[in-house]
Point group: C2
Protein backbone atom coordinates (compact mmCIF):
# COMPACT_ATOMS: atom_id res chain seq x y z
CA UNK A 1 0.00 0.00 0.00
CA UNK A 2 2.94 2.35 0.52
CA UNK A 3 4.08 2.71 -3.08
CA UNK A 4 3.54 6.33 -4.26
CA UNK A 5 2.33 9.02 -1.91
CA UNK A 6 0.68 12.08 -3.42
CA UNK A 7 2.97 15.11 -2.81
CA UNK A 8 0.09 17.28 -1.67
CA UNK A 9 -1.09 19.02 1.48
CA UNK A 10 -4.75 18.29 2.05
CA UNK A 11 -7.39 19.52 4.48
CA UNK A 12 -10.42 17.31 5.04
CA UNK A 13 -13.62 18.44 6.74
CA UNK A 14 -15.20 15.52 8.55
CA UNK A 15 -17.92 14.45 10.94
CA UNK A 16 -18.23 10.89 12.18
CA UNK A 17 -17.94 7.55 10.47
CA UNK A 18 -18.24 8.45 6.76
CA UNK A 19 -15.80 11.30 7.14
CA UNK A 20 -13.42 9.18 9.18
CA UNK A 21 -13.31 6.50 6.49
CA UNK A 22 -12.24 8.89 3.76
CA UNK A 23 -9.80 10.54 6.18
CA UNK A 24 -8.17 7.12 6.62
CA UNK A 25 -7.91 6.78 2.84
CA UNK A 26 -6.38 10.25 2.54
CA UNK A 27 -3.88 9.52 5.32
CA UNK A 28 -2.84 6.37 3.45
CA UNK A 29 -2.54 8.22 0.14
CA UNK A 30 -0.48 11.14 1.43
CA UNK A 31 2.92 11.63 3.03
CA UNK A 32 2.87 11.48 6.86
CA UNK A 33 1.58 14.77 8.28
CA UNK A 34 0.31 16.04 4.89
CA UNK A 35 -3.33 15.56 5.87
CA UNK A 36 -5.10 17.78 8.40
CA UNK A 37 -8.64 16.84 9.41
CA UNK A 38 -10.94 19.59 10.71
CA UNK A 39 -13.67 17.90 12.70
CA UNK A 40 -17.21 18.79 13.73
CA UNK A 41 -17.60 19.44 17.47
CA UNK A 42 -21.32 20.31 17.36
CA UNK A 43 -22.02 16.83 18.75
CA UNK A 44 -19.85 17.37 21.82
CA UNK A 45 -21.51 17.11 25.20
CA UNK A 46 -21.00 16.39 28.87
CA UNK A 47 -21.88 12.92 30.12
CA UNK A 48 -21.03 11.35 33.48
CA UNK A 49 -19.23 14.64 34.15
CA UNK A 50 -16.88 13.94 31.24
CA UNK A 51 -16.29 16.02 28.12
CA UNK A 52 -17.20 13.80 25.17
CA UNK A 53 -16.30 14.70 21.57
CA UNK A 54 -17.84 11.88 19.49
CA UNK A 55 -16.70 12.99 16.03
CA UNK A 56 -13.17 13.86 17.14
CA UNK A 57 -12.95 10.41 18.72
CA UNK A 58 -14.35 8.59 15.70
CA UNK A 59 -11.80 10.31 13.45
CA UNK A 60 -9.03 9.67 15.99
CA UNK A 61 -9.84 5.98 16.44
CA UNK A 62 -10.15 5.47 12.68
CA UNK A 63 -6.87 7.21 11.90
CA UNK A 64 -5.21 5.11 14.64
CA UNK A 65 -6.74 1.96 13.17
CA UNK A 66 -8.41 1.01 16.46
CA UNK A 67 -12.02 1.93 15.63
CA UNK A 68 -14.81 -0.58 16.05
CA UNK A 69 -15.29 -2.12 12.60
CA UNK A 70 -19.10 -2.14 12.66
CA UNK A 71 -20.44 0.33 15.20
CA UNK A 72 -19.37 3.58 13.53
CA UNK A 73 -18.21 4.80 16.95
CA UNK A 74 -15.91 3.64 19.71
CA UNK A 75 -13.00 1.24 19.80
CA UNK A 76 -12.31 -2.27 18.63
CA UNK A 77 -12.13 -4.98 21.37
CA UNK A 78 -14.16 -2.81 23.72
CA UNK A 79 -15.85 -3.83 26.97
CA UNK A 80 -18.58 -2.11 28.98
CA UNK A 81 -17.99 -2.95 32.63
CA UNK A 82 -18.01 0.65 33.85
CA UNK A 83 -21.26 1.23 31.94
CA UNK A 84 -22.86 -1.89 33.41
CA UNK A 85 -21.86 -0.82 36.91
CA UNK A 86 -23.05 2.73 36.27
CA UNK A 87 -26.39 1.29 35.27
CA UNK A 88 -26.53 -0.80 38.45
CA UNK A 89 -25.78 2.36 40.47
CA UNK A 90 -28.76 4.09 38.83
CA UNK A 91 -26.65 6.22 36.48
CA UNK A 92 -27.39 7.03 32.85
CA UNK A 93 -26.64 4.19 30.45
CA UNK A 94 -28.12 5.30 27.12
CA UNK A 95 -24.79 6.56 25.78
CA UNK A 96 -22.48 3.57 25.46
CA UNK A 97 -19.08 4.59 26.75
CA UNK A 98 -16.66 1.66 26.67
CA UNK A 99 -14.00 0.91 29.26
CA UNK A 100 -11.08 1.66 26.90
CA UNK A 101 -12.85 4.65 25.36
CA UNK A 102 -13.27 6.06 28.88
CA UNK A 103 -9.54 6.52 29.31
CA UNK A 104 -9.53 9.04 26.48
CA UNK A 105 -12.51 10.95 27.89
CA UNK A 106 -10.89 11.05 31.33
CA UNK A 107 -7.65 12.46 29.91
CA UNK A 108 -9.48 15.04 27.80
CA UNK A 109 -11.73 16.13 30.67
CA UNK A 110 -8.86 16.52 33.10
CA UNK A 111 -6.82 18.54 30.61
CA UNK A 112 -9.76 20.79 29.64
CA UNK A 113 -10.40 21.49 33.33
CA UNK A 114 -6.76 22.53 33.61
CA UNK A 115 -7.44 25.15 30.94
CA UNK A 116 -5.75 23.35 28.05
CA UNK A 117 -7.52 24.01 24.73
CA UNK A 118 -9.48 21.30 22.95
CA UNK A 119 -7.09 21.77 20.01
CA UNK A 120 -4.07 20.98 22.20
CA UNK A 121 -5.89 18.11 23.95
CA UNK A 122 -6.87 16.58 20.61
CA UNK A 123 -3.32 16.90 19.36
CA UNK A 124 -1.88 15.24 22.48
CA UNK A 125 -4.32 12.37 22.15
CA UNK A 126 -3.62 11.72 18.46
CA UNK A 127 0.14 11.83 19.13
CA UNK A 128 -0.17 9.38 22.02
CA UNK A 129 -1.92 7.03 19.58
CA UNK A 130 0.81 7.47 16.98
CA UNK A 131 -1.39 9.17 14.37
CA UNK A 132 0.69 11.12 11.81
CA UNK A 133 -2.14 13.45 10.70
CA UNK A 134 -3.10 16.53 12.72
CA UNK A 135 -6.73 16.40 13.85
CA UNK A 136 -8.19 19.81 14.73
CA UNK A 137 -11.58 20.60 16.27
CA UNK A 138 -13.59 23.18 14.33
CA UNK A 139 -13.58 25.37 17.45
CA UNK A 140 -12.03 25.53 20.90
CA UNK A 141 -15.12 27.26 22.29
CA UNK A 142 -18.16 25.04 22.66
CA UNK A 143 -20.49 25.04 19.66
CA UNK A 144 -23.53 22.89 20.32
CA UNK A 145 -25.89 21.53 17.68
CA UNK A 146 -29.47 22.04 18.85
CA UNK A 147 -32.04 19.96 16.97
CA UNK A 148 -35.46 21.56 16.53
CA UNK A 149 -37.94 18.69 16.16
CA UNK A 150 -41.64 17.99 16.30
CA UNK A 151 -41.00 16.88 19.88
CA UNK A 152 -39.28 20.13 20.83
CA UNK A 153 -35.68 21.30 20.94
CA UNK A 154 -33.20 18.54 21.70
CA UNK A 155 -29.48 18.59 22.50
CA UNK A 156 -27.76 16.68 19.73
CA UNK A 157 -26.92 13.43 21.52
CA UNK A 158 -30.41 13.17 22.98
CA UNK A 159 -31.79 13.39 19.44
CA UNK A 160 -29.09 11.22 17.86
CA UNK A 161 -28.39 8.49 20.42
CA UNK A 162 -31.04 8.53 23.12
CA UNK A 163 -34.00 8.93 20.73
CA UNK A 164 -32.20 7.30 17.75
CA UNK A 165 -33.18 10.24 15.47
CA UNK A 166 -36.86 9.27 15.78
CA UNK A 167 -38.27 12.82 16.18
CA UNK A 168 -38.95 14.67 12.94
CA UNK A 169 -36.26 17.27 12.28
CA UNK A 170 -37.50 20.78 11.52
CA UNK A 171 -34.31 22.82 11.73
CA UNK A 172 -30.87 22.99 13.34
CA UNK A 173 -29.09 25.69 15.31
CA UNK A 174 -25.37 25.69 16.05
CA UNK A 175 -25.38 27.43 19.41
CA UNK A 176 -22.21 29.43 20.00
CA UNK A 177 -21.06 29.32 16.38
CA UNK A 178 -21.22 33.10 15.97
CA UNK A 179 -18.53 33.57 18.63
CA UNK A 180 -16.46 30.58 17.50
CA UNK A 181 -13.17 30.77 15.67
CA UNK A 182 -11.29 28.19 13.62
CA UNK A 183 -8.28 27.18 15.74
CA UNK A 184 -4.97 28.49 14.46
CA UNK A 185 -3.67 25.07 13.27
CA UNK A 186 -6.83 24.67 11.19
CA UNK A 187 -6.36 28.10 9.63
CA UNK A 188 -2.70 27.41 8.92
CA UNK A 189 -3.53 24.06 7.33
CA UNK A 190 -6.18 25.68 5.12
CA UNK A 191 -3.75 28.34 3.96
CA UNK A 192 -1.06 25.75 3.19
CA UNK A 193 -3.40 23.25 1.51
CA UNK A 194 -3.36 22.22 -2.16
CA UNK A 195 -6.76 20.54 -1.94
CA UNK A 196 -9.73 20.73 0.42
CA UNK A 197 -12.01 17.71 0.70
CA UNK A 198 -15.48 17.65 2.21
CA UNK A 199 -15.78 14.06 3.36
CA UNK A 200 -19.00 12.07 2.81
CA UNK A 201 -20.34 13.14 6.19
CA UNK A 202 -23.90 14.18 6.94
CA UNK A 203 -24.36 17.63 5.29
CA UNK A 204 -26.75 18.85 7.99
CA UNK A 205 -25.34 17.35 11.17
CA UNK A 206 -21.61 17.15 10.40
CA UNK A 207 -20.53 19.54 7.63
CA UNK A 208 -22.94 22.44 8.26
CA UNK A 209 -21.68 22.97 11.84
CA UNK A 210 -18.11 23.23 10.51
CA UNK A 211 -19.23 25.65 7.79
CA UNK A 212 -20.99 27.73 10.45
CA UNK A 213 -17.66 28.80 11.94
CA UNK A 214 -17.17 32.45 10.93
CA UNK A 215 -14.78 32.95 8.03
CA UNK A 216 -14.60 29.38 6.79
CA UNK A 217 -17.26 29.59 4.10
CA UNK A 218 -15.78 32.87 2.91
CA UNK A 219 -12.36 31.23 2.73
CA UNK A 220 -13.75 28.34 0.67
CA UNK A 221 -15.46 30.78 -1.72
CA UNK A 222 -12.35 32.84 -2.43
CA UNK A 223 -9.65 30.17 -2.42
CA UNK A 224 -8.03 29.24 -5.73
CA UNK A 225 -7.39 25.63 -4.73
CA UNK A 226 -9.88 22.88 -5.57
CA UNK A 227 -12.61 22.17 -3.03
CA UNK A 228 -14.07 18.71 -3.62
CA UNK A 229 -17.03 17.08 -1.88
CA UNK A 230 -17.86 13.39 -1.83
CA UNK A 231 -21.57 12.63 -1.72
CA UNK A 232 -22.79 10.77 1.38
CA UNK A 233 -25.99 9.93 -0.53
CA UNK A 234 -25.89 6.89 -2.80
CA UNK A 235 -28.91 5.46 -4.64
CA UNK A 236 -31.32 7.62 -2.69
CA UNK A 237 -29.99 6.44 0.66
CA UNK A 238 -27.43 7.57 3.18
CA UNK A 239 -24.49 5.17 3.30
CA UNK A 240 -24.83 5.36 7.09
CA UNK A 241 -26.79 7.54 9.49
CA UNK A 242 -29.89 9.72 9.23
CA UNK A 243 -29.01 12.00 6.28
CA UNK A 244 -31.72 10.51 4.03
CA UNK A 245 -34.32 10.60 6.80
CA UNK A 246 -33.52 14.26 7.46
CA UNK A 247 -33.75 15.14 3.74
CA UNK A 248 -37.16 13.53 3.62
CA UNK A 249 -38.31 15.46 6.69
CA UNK A 250 -36.98 18.71 5.21
CA UNK A 251 -38.96 18.00 2.02
CA UNK A 252 -35.93 17.86 -0.28
CA UNK A 253 -34.97 15.19 -2.77
CA UNK A 254 -32.81 12.42 -1.33
CA UNK A 255 -30.09 12.77 -3.94
CA UNK A 256 -26.51 13.91 -4.57
CA UNK A 257 -28.07 16.96 -6.19
CA UNK A 258 -29.42 18.14 -2.87
CA UNK A 259 -25.93 17.73 -1.40
CA UNK A 260 -24.15 19.67 -4.13
CA UNK A 261 -26.75 22.46 -3.92
CA UNK A 262 -25.74 23.10 -0.31
CA UNK A 263 -22.12 23.67 -1.34
CA UNK A 264 -22.70 25.35 -4.71
CA UNK A 265 -21.23 28.69 -3.64
CA UNK A 266 -17.75 27.27 -3.20
CA UNK A 267 -17.48 23.74 -4.63
CA UNK A 268 -15.00 23.05 -7.46
CA UNK A 269 -15.76 19.39 -8.00
CA UNK A 270 -18.15 16.73 -6.81
CA UNK A 271 -17.72 12.97 -6.43
CA UNK A 272 -20.74 10.69 -6.68
CA UNK A 273 -21.27 6.97 -6.83
CA UNK A 274 -21.58 5.01 -10.08
CA UNK A 275 -25.08 4.12 -8.95
CA UNK A 276 -26.05 7.79 -9.30
CA UNK A 277 -24.85 8.13 -12.90
CA UNK A 278 -28.22 9.58 -13.94
CA UNK A 279 -27.71 12.62 -11.74
CA UNK A 280 -24.52 13.68 -13.53
CA UNK A 281 -26.26 15.58 -16.25
CA UNK A 282 -28.08 17.94 -13.91
CA UNK A 283 -25.05 18.76 -11.76
CA UNK A 284 -23.46 21.99 -12.99
CA UNK A 285 -19.90 21.45 -11.74
CA UNK A 286 -17.25 18.89 -12.75
CA UNK A 287 -18.32 15.56 -11.32
CA UNK A 288 -16.33 12.37 -10.84
CA UNK A 289 -18.28 9.15 -11.09
CA UNK A 290 -16.75 6.25 -9.15
CA UNK A 291 -17.36 3.57 -6.53
CA UNK A 292 -17.70 5.61 -3.32
CA UNK A 293 -18.48 2.74 -0.94
CA UNK A 294 -15.52 2.25 1.40
CA UNK A 295 -15.46 -1.35 2.57
CA UNK A 296 -11.85 -1.76 3.58
CA UNK A 297 -8.52 0.02 3.74
CA UNK A 298 -7.86 -0.60 0.04
CA UNK A 299 -11.15 0.95 -1.08
CA UNK A 300 -10.66 3.91 1.28
CA UNK A 301 -7.25 4.58 -0.22
CA UNK A 302 -8.47 4.04 -3.77
CA UNK A 303 -11.32 6.55 -3.35
CA UNK A 304 -8.95 9.04 -1.69
CA UNK A 305 -6.49 8.77 -4.56
CA UNK A 306 -9.24 9.23 -7.12
CA UNK A 307 -10.49 12.32 -5.28
CA UNK A 308 -6.97 13.77 -5.20
CA UNK A 309 -6.28 12.99 -8.86
CA UNK A 310 -9.61 14.58 -9.76
CA UNK A 311 -8.67 17.65 -7.70
CA UNK A 312 -5.28 17.88 -9.42
CA UNK A 313 -6.91 17.70 -12.84
CA UNK A 314 -9.33 20.49 -11.91
CA UNK A 315 -6.42 22.53 -10.63
CA UNK A 316 -4.51 22.13 -13.90
CA UNK A 317 -7.58 23.07 -15.94
CA UNK A 318 -8.01 26.18 -13.78
CA UNK A 319 -4.35 27.16 -14.24
CA UNK A 320 -4.60 26.82 -18.01
CA UNK A 321 -7.76 28.89 -18.10
Amino acid sequence: MNETKKPLKVVALAGGVGGAKLAVGLQEALAPGALTVIVNTGDDFEHWGLSISPDLDTVTYNLAGINHPDNGWGRINESYRTLETMSQLGGEDWFRLGDCDLALHLRRTEWLRQGITLTEVTDRLRRSLGIPSPIVPMSDRPVRTLVHTDEGDLPFQHYFVRLRCAPILIDLTFVGADEAKLPEPAQAALHAAHVIVLCPSNPYLSIDPILSIPGLRHFLRQTKIPVIAVSPIVSGQAVKGPAAKIMKELGVLISPHTVVDRYEDFLTGFVIDNADRDWCESIQIPTLLTDTIMRDLASKRRLAEQVLTFAQQLSEVAQKA
Copy 2:
Protein backbone atom coordinates in the same frame (compact mmCIF):
# COMPACT_ATOMS: atom_id res chain seq x y z
CA MET B 1 -26.71 -15.80 60.94
CA ASN B 2 -29.87 -13.78 61.48
CA GLU B 3 -30.93 -15.18 64.83
CA THR B 4 -30.65 -12.48 67.53
CA LYS B 5 -29.79 -8.92 66.67
CA LYS B 6 -28.41 -6.73 69.42
CA PRO B 7 -30.98 -3.98 70.17
CA LEU B 8 -28.37 -1.27 70.17
CA LYS B 9 -27.43 1.80 68.16
CA VAL B 10 -23.74 1.77 67.42
CA VAL B 11 -21.29 4.20 65.85
CA ALA B 12 -18.06 2.79 64.46
CA LEU B 13 -15.03 4.87 63.51
CA ALA B 14 -13.20 3.23 60.64
CA GLY B 15 -10.46 3.61 58.08
CA GLY B 16 -9.84 1.03 55.39
CA VAL B 17 -9.74 -2.74 55.40
CA GLY B 18 -9.45 -3.57 59.14
CA GLY B 19 -12.17 -1.11 60.01
CA ALA B 20 -14.37 -2.30 57.19
CA LYS B 21 -14.16 -5.91 58.39
CA LEU B 22 -15.39 -5.10 61.88
CA ALA B 23 -18.04 -2.81 60.39
CA VAL B 24 -19.33 -5.79 58.42
CA GLY B 25 -19.48 -7.81 61.65
CA LEU B 26 -21.33 -5.02 63.43
CA GLN B 27 -23.81 -4.66 60.56
CA GLU B 28 -24.49 -8.40 60.80
CA ALA B 29 -24.90 -8.27 64.57
CA LEU B 30 -27.27 -5.31 64.66
CA ALA B 31 -30.74 -4.48 63.37
CA PRO B 32 -30.75 -2.89 59.88
CA GLY B 33 -29.82 0.79 60.13
CA ALA B 34 -28.61 0.54 63.74
CA LEU B 35 -24.96 0.90 62.74
CA THR B 36 -23.48 4.18 61.51
CA VAL B 37 -19.90 4.16 60.29
CA ILE B 38 -17.91 7.40 60.41
CA VAL B 39 -15.06 7.06 57.95
CA ASN B 40 -11.65 8.64 57.49
CA THR B 41 -11.40 10.95 54.47
CA GLY B 42 -7.79 12.02 55.04
CA ASP B 43 -6.77 9.61 52.26
CA ASP B 44 -9.06 11.27 49.70
CA PHE B 45 -7.46 12.72 46.60
CA GLU B 46 -7.98 13.69 42.99
CA HIS B 47 -6.79 11.27 40.34
CA TRP B 48 -7.55 11.31 36.61
CA GLY B 49 -9.68 14.35 37.48
CA LEU B 50 -11.89 12.19 39.68
CA SER B 51 -12.61 12.55 43.39
CA ILE B 52 -11.41 9.35 45.05
CA SER B 53 -12.32 8.42 48.66
CA PRO B 54 -10.47 5.15 49.27
CA ASP B 55 -11.63 4.47 52.84
CA LEU B 56 -15.25 5.39 52.15
CA ASP B 57 -15.17 3.01 49.20
CA THR B 58 -13.53 0.17 51.12
CA VAL B 59 -16.18 0.45 53.83
CA THR B 60 -18.94 0.75 51.21
CA TYR B 61 -17.79 -2.25 49.17
CA ASN B 62 -17.33 -4.36 52.31
CA LEU B 63 -20.76 -3.49 53.70
CA ALA B 64 -22.25 -4.29 50.28
CA GLY B 65 -20.39 -7.61 50.20
CA ILE B 66 -18.71 -6.78 46.89
CA ASN B 67 -15.19 -6.00 48.13
CA HIS B 68 -12.18 -7.75 46.68
CA PRO B 69 -11.47 -10.63 49.07
CA ASP B 70 -7.67 -10.25 49.11
CA ASN B 71 -6.64 -6.77 47.99
CA GLY B 72 -7.99 -4.76 50.90
CA TRP B 73 -9.36 -2.25 48.37
CA GLY B 74 -11.58 -2.25 45.33
CA ARG B 75 -14.24 -4.64 44.11
CA ILE B 76 -14.54 -8.34 43.54
CA ASN B 77 -14.53 -9.52 39.89
CA GLU B 78 -12.79 -6.34 38.82
CA SER B 79 -11.08 -5.61 35.50
CA TYR B 80 -8.57 -2.91 34.53
CA ARG B 81 -9.16 -2.06 30.88
CA THR B 82 -9.52 1.69 31.40
CA LEU B 83 -6.31 1.65 33.45
CA GLU B 84 -4.44 -0.30 30.77
CA THR B 85 -5.63 2.14 28.11
CA MET B 86 -4.78 5.12 30.30
CA SER B 87 -1.28 3.69 30.62
CA GLN B 88 -1.02 3.31 26.84
CA LEU B 89 -2.11 6.94 26.45
CA GLY B 90 0.73 8.02 28.76
CA GLY B 91 -1.51 8.65 31.77
CA GLU B 92 -0.77 7.79 35.39
CA ASP B 93 -1.20 4.14 36.23
CA TRP B 94 0.25 3.75 39.73
CA PHE B 95 -3.17 3.94 41.42
CA ARG B 96 -5.16 0.91 40.30
CA LEU B 97 -8.68 2.07 39.54
CA GLY B 98 -10.81 -0.81 38.25
CA ASP B 99 -13.44 -0.56 35.53
CA CYS B 100 -16.36 -1.23 37.90
CA ASP B 101 -14.86 0.89 40.66
CA LEU B 102 -14.66 3.77 38.17
CA ALA B 103 -18.44 4.00 37.89
CA LEU B 104 -18.62 4.96 41.56
CA HIS B 105 -15.87 7.59 41.23
CA LEU B 106 -17.57 9.06 38.17
CA ARG B 107 -20.90 9.35 39.98
CA ARG B 108 -19.28 10.89 43.06
CA THR B 109 -17.20 13.35 41.06
CA GLU B 110 -20.16 14.51 38.99
CA TRP B 111 -22.33 15.00 42.08
CA LEU B 112 -19.61 16.82 44.01
CA ARG B 113 -19.12 19.16 41.04
CA GLN B 114 -22.85 19.88 41.17
CA GLY B 115 -22.36 21.06 44.75
CA ILE B 116 -23.81 18.01 46.47
CA THR B 117 -22.04 17.27 49.78
CA LEU B 118 -19.78 14.25 50.21
CA THR B 119 -22.15 13.11 52.98
CA GLU B 120 -25.12 13.10 50.59
CA VAL B 121 -23.07 11.52 47.78
CA THR B 122 -21.87 8.75 50.11
CA ASP B 123 -25.40 8.12 51.28
CA ARG B 124 -26.75 7.91 47.72
CA LEU B 125 -24.02 5.45 46.79
CA ARG B 126 -24.58 3.15 49.78
CA ARG B 127 -28.34 3.19 49.14
CA SER B 128 -27.85 2.32 45.46
CA LEU B 129 -25.83 -0.68 46.63
CA GLY B 130 -28.54 -1.73 49.09
CA ILE B 131 -26.45 -1.16 52.25
CA PRO B 132 -28.66 -0.78 55.35
CA SER B 133 -26.05 1.07 57.44
CA PRO B 134 -25.44 4.80 57.04
CA ILE B 135 -21.84 5.56 56.06
CA VAL B 136 -20.74 9.12 56.84
CA PRO B 137 -17.48 10.83 55.91
CA MET B 138 -15.68 12.47 58.84
CA SER B 139 -15.99 15.82 57.03
CA ASP B 140 -17.62 17.36 53.98
CA ARG B 141 -14.76 19.81 53.60
CA PRO B 142 -11.52 18.29 52.34
CA VAL B 143 -9.12 17.18 55.08
CA ARG B 144 -5.90 15.86 53.58
CA THR B 145 -3.36 13.72 55.40
CA LEU B 146 0.13 15.03 54.67
CA VAL B 147 2.93 12.60 55.47
CA HIS B 148 6.18 14.16 56.66
CA THR B 149 8.94 11.70 55.76
CA ASP B 150 12.70 11.50 55.41
CA GLU B 151 12.07 12.05 51.68
CA GLY B 152 10.03 15.19 52.26
CA ASP B 153 6.32 15.91 52.61
CA LEU B 154 4.11 13.57 50.64
CA PRO B 155 0.39 13.60 49.86
CA PHE B 156 -1.07 10.49 51.44
CA GLN B 157 -1.64 8.31 48.36
CA HIS B 158 1.82 9.09 47.03
CA TYR B 159 3.27 7.83 50.32
CA PHE B 160 0.83 4.93 50.71
CA VAL B 161 0.34 3.59 47.18
CA ARG B 162 2.90 5.09 44.83
CA LEU B 163 5.86 4.67 47.22
CA ARG B 164 4.32 1.71 49.12
CA CYS B 165 5.05 3.39 52.50
CA ALA B 166 8.80 3.02 51.87
CA PRO B 167 9.84 6.50 53.14
CA ILE B 168 10.42 6.77 56.88
CA LEU B 169 7.51 8.53 58.56
CA ILE B 170 8.42 11.43 60.83
CA ASP B 171 5.03 13.02 61.48
CA LEU B 172 1.56 13.55 60.04
CA THR B 173 -0.53 16.66 59.44
CA PHE B 174 -4.25 16.63 58.70
CA VAL B 175 -4.48 19.68 56.48
CA GLY B 176 -7.84 21.40 56.75
CA ALA B 177 -8.90 19.56 59.92
CA ASP B 178 -9.11 22.78 61.98
CA GLU B 179 -11.88 24.11 59.76
CA ALA B 180 -13.63 20.75 59.37
CA LYS B 181 -16.89 19.77 61.02
CA LEU B 182 -18.46 16.38 61.66
CA PRO B 183 -21.40 16.13 59.23
CA GLU B 184 -24.80 16.40 60.89
CA PRO B 185 -25.73 12.70 60.38
CA ALA B 186 -22.49 11.72 62.14
CA GLN B 187 -23.25 14.04 65.06
CA ALA B 188 -26.81 12.75 65.30
CA ALA B 189 -25.63 9.15 65.24
CA LEU B 190 -23.09 9.84 68.01
CA HIS B 191 -25.76 11.45 70.19
CA ALA B 192 -28.15 8.54 69.64
CA ALA B 193 -25.57 5.79 70.08
CA HIS B 194 -25.41 3.24 72.90
CA VAL B 195 -21.87 2.18 72.03
CA ILE B 196 -18.98 3.71 70.10
CA VAL B 197 -16.42 1.36 68.55
CA LEU B 198 -12.99 2.33 67.27
CA CYS B 199 -12.37 -0.33 64.64
CA PRO B 200 -8.97 -2.02 64.31
CA SER B 201 -7.80 0.57 61.79
CA ASN B 202 -4.38 2.17 61.68
CA PRO B 203 -4.24 4.55 64.69
CA TYR B 204 -2.03 7.06 62.89
CA LEU B 205 -3.37 7.01 59.34
CA SER B 206 -7.04 6.13 59.85
CA ILE B 207 -8.28 6.92 63.37
CA ASP B 208 -6.18 10.00 64.14
CA PRO B 209 -7.57 11.95 61.16
CA ILE B 210 -11.11 11.25 62.39
CA LEU B 211 -10.18 12.29 65.93
CA SER B 212 -8.69 15.51 64.52
CA ILE B 213 -12.15 16.80 63.58
CA PRO B 214 -12.96 19.56 66.11
CA GLY B 215 -15.33 18.47 68.87
CA LEU B 216 -15.13 14.72 68.36
CA ARG B 217 -12.43 13.96 70.92
CA HIS B 218 -14.20 16.20 73.42
CA PHE B 219 -17.45 14.34 72.78
CA LEU B 220 -15.74 10.99 73.37
CA ARG B 221 -14.22 12.24 76.64
CA GLN B 222 -17.49 13.45 78.11
CA THR B 223 -19.92 10.82 76.84
CA LYS B 224 -21.36 8.35 79.33
CA ILE B 225 -21.67 5.53 76.83
CA PRO B 226 -18.92 2.96 76.40
CA VAL B 227 -16.18 3.72 73.89
CA ILE B 228 -14.38 0.53 72.91
CA ALA B 229 -11.30 0.14 70.71
CA VAL B 230 -10.12 -3.04 69.03
CA SER B 231 -6.35 -3.30 68.67
CA PRO B 232 -5.03 -3.45 65.10
CA ILE B 233 -1.72 -4.72 66.52
CA VAL B 234 -1.46 -8.46 67.19
CA SER B 235 1.73 -10.25 68.28
CA GLY B 236 3.87 -7.22 67.55
CA GLN B 237 2.60 -6.92 64.00
CA ALA B 238 -0.11 -5.03 62.17
CA VAL B 239 -2.81 -7.41 60.93
CA LYS B 240 -2.59 -5.50 57.63
CA GLY B 241 -0.90 -2.32 56.49
CA PRO B 242 1.97 -0.19 57.77
CA ALA B 243 0.93 0.44 61.42
CA ALA B 244 3.82 -1.62 62.83
CA LYS B 245 6.36 -0.07 60.46
CA ILE B 246 5.17 3.41 61.47
CA MET B 247 5.39 2.58 65.19
CA LYS B 248 8.97 1.42 64.68
CA GLU B 249 9.85 4.62 62.81
CA LEU B 250 8.25 6.73 65.55
CA GLY B 251 10.35 4.86 68.12
CA VAL B 252 7.41 3.41 70.06
CA LEU B 253 6.78 -0.19 71.08
CA ILE B 254 4.85 -2.20 68.50
CA SER B 255 2.17 -3.33 70.92
CA PRO B 256 -1.49 -2.94 71.91
CA HIS B 257 -0.21 -0.80 74.76
CA THR B 258 0.95 1.85 72.34
CA VAL B 259 -2.53 1.81 70.76
CA VAL B 260 -4.42 2.14 74.04
CA ASP B 261 -2.13 4.96 75.14
CA ARG B 262 -3.26 7.03 72.17
CA TYR B 263 -6.89 6.75 73.28
CA GLU B 264 -6.39 6.79 77.06
CA ASP B 265 -8.21 10.08 77.57
CA PHE B 266 -11.55 8.66 76.44
CA LEU B 267 -11.44 4.87 76.14
CA THR B 268 -13.78 2.75 78.30
CA GLY B 269 -12.66 -0.66 77.16
CA PHE B 270 -10.05 -2.26 74.97
CA VAL B 271 -10.11 -5.47 72.95
CA ILE B 272 -6.87 -7.32 72.22
CA ASP B 273 -5.97 -10.63 70.72
CA ASN B 274 -5.40 -13.79 72.74
CA ALA B 275 -1.85 -13.74 71.44
CA ASP B 276 -1.25 -10.54 73.42
CA ARG B 277 -2.40 -11.97 76.75
CA ASP B 278 0.84 -10.80 78.39
CA TRP B 279 -0.01 -7.16 77.77
CA CYS B 280 -3.26 -7.33 79.79
CA GLU B 281 -1.66 -6.68 83.12
CA SER B 282 -0.12 -3.35 82.14
CA ILE B 283 -3.27 -1.97 80.49
CA GLN B 284 -5.14 0.22 82.99
CA ILE B 285 -8.67 -0.09 81.55
CA PRO B 286 -11.01 -3.07 81.23
CA THR B 287 -9.65 -5.30 78.49
CA LEU B 288 -11.32 -8.12 76.59
CA LEU B 289 -9.07 -10.90 75.40
CA THR B 290 -10.35 -12.76 72.35
CA ASP B 291 -9.53 -13.92 68.84
CA THR B 292 -9.48 -10.64 66.88
CA ILE B 293 -8.45 -12.06 63.51
CA MET B 294 -11.42 -11.73 61.10
CA ARG B 295 -11.12 -14.42 58.46
CA ASP B 296 -14.72 -14.70 57.27
CA LEU B 297 -18.22 -13.35 57.85
CA ALA B 298 -18.74 -15.63 60.87
CA SER B 299 -15.58 -14.43 62.62
CA LYS B 300 -16.41 -10.80 61.83
CA ARG B 301 -19.85 -11.19 63.40
CA ARG B 302 -18.50 -13.14 66.37
CA LEU B 303 -15.92 -10.44 67.16
CA ALA B 304 -18.56 -7.72 66.73
CA GLU B 305 -20.92 -9.50 69.13
CA GLN B 306 -18.16 -9.96 71.68
CA VAL B 307 -17.26 -6.26 71.45
CA LEU B 308 -20.92 -5.29 71.94
CA THR B 309 -21.45 -7.68 74.85
CA PHE B 310 -18.27 -6.35 76.45
CA ALA B 311 -19.56 -2.79 75.97
CA GLN B 312 -22.91 -3.68 77.52
CA GLN B 313 -21.20 -5.23 80.53
CA LEU B 314 -19.08 -2.09 81.02
CA SER B 315 -22.21 0.01 80.70
CA GLU B 316 -23.99 -1.99 83.41
CA VAL B 317 -20.99 -1.75 85.73
CA ALA B 318 -20.93 2.00 85.20
CA GLN B 319 -24.65 2.32 85.95
CA LYS B 320 -24.29 0.37 89.20
CA ALA B 321 -21.33 2.50 90.30
